[in-house]
Symmetry: C2
Subunit: 179 residues, 2 copies
């Protein structure tokens, strides 16, 4: 097993900030290097592990704990995992960091100012949230607790996907997770 190093790269950030885009870009790079890995995207997890859960604090916490549980199973078996759920609450992110172990946990804050995301609104969700059509929408009608000390912070309103990816890759290299 010594030949494989598992880690969990935990993306956190507002809807539309670029978590999934970055996860896919990183995945493509790892594929090119034939590095096996898994992506636990918010939607995949909501479908396969958390159907029936809503967006109350309690349900969000349960959803994130499940992602942490699965990420840990993979990580401790030497599989790199990326999670890409909003994960708005700090305490639960810290709980996942503790479960997986800080040495195997990489928190990446995918940041863009709310105004930019509302302006961008690629999925039209902010418009609906602002109109009150979607309730408990993170950043609009539900809290987002910013990471205080993320391992990496990317600014997707100022950086290209490639630039953000380079910052993440450099950190993974520094930690010995990739070469």
């Amino acid at each position: 097993m010594a030949d494989r190093i598992g880690f969990t790269l935990w993306f956190t950030g507002l809807s539309g900030a670029g978590k999934s885009t970055l996860a896919e870009a990183l995945s493509a790079r790892m594929n090119a290097l034939e590095l096996a890995h898994e992506i636990l995207d918010g939607d995949i997890v909501r479908t396969n592990l958390s159907k029936g859960l809503g967006f109350s604090k309690e349900d969000r916490d349960t959803n994130i704990r499940r992602i942490g549980f699965v990420a840990n199973l993979l990580t401790r078996n030497g599989v790199p995992v990326m999670t890409a759920a909003i994960s708005p609450y700090k305490a639960i992110r810290e709980e996942c960091r503790a479960l997986i172990g800080p040495d195997s946990f990489v928190e990446v804050h995918v940041h863009a100012p709310l105004e930019v995301l509302i302006e961008r609104d690629t999925k039209g969700l902010y418009k609906k949230a602002l109109a009150g059509e979607i309730k408990e929408f993170t950043g609009v009608s539900d809290p987002y607790e910013e990471p205080e000390n993320p391992d990496v912070k990317v600014h997707t309103h100022e950086e290209s996907v490639e630039e953000s990816l380079e910052k993440i890759w450099a950190h993974l290299k520094e930690r010995g997770f990739v070469e």
Copy 2:
């Protein structure tokens, strides 16, 4: 990755038949050989992935699908997994076999006659189920659909744990999962 062969060993059988006991015995043997693996026990999964789900057919199916989803993530990354939930419904077991892939799926029917289990009743659950204190109890007030063609069938009322384990081990060897 070629150095690790993943598979899912799917125990199915009535409560008290010996699924967890066999999973633990197999786990001990694999530990002795330094073969990494994971056990997705019914209780562990109910706590970490399926809190809030009950024992209706729908909830049981959801629970088993989640186990299948996680077992698949591990298996396809070269990790041997044992699942030890009752998994009473044939259609969902077959769904998991199809998801994970028949070549990586080992169904083990842990069988003992209901009368023996009622007599044994190590956890006192059958007594409660027969008295109507537990509802939807598999084998008493809820169906158990026996596997028609399990890869291995063990008879825990006639075999010692060691004997059942040998049957399972021989099958894993035959399939090339262990040496």
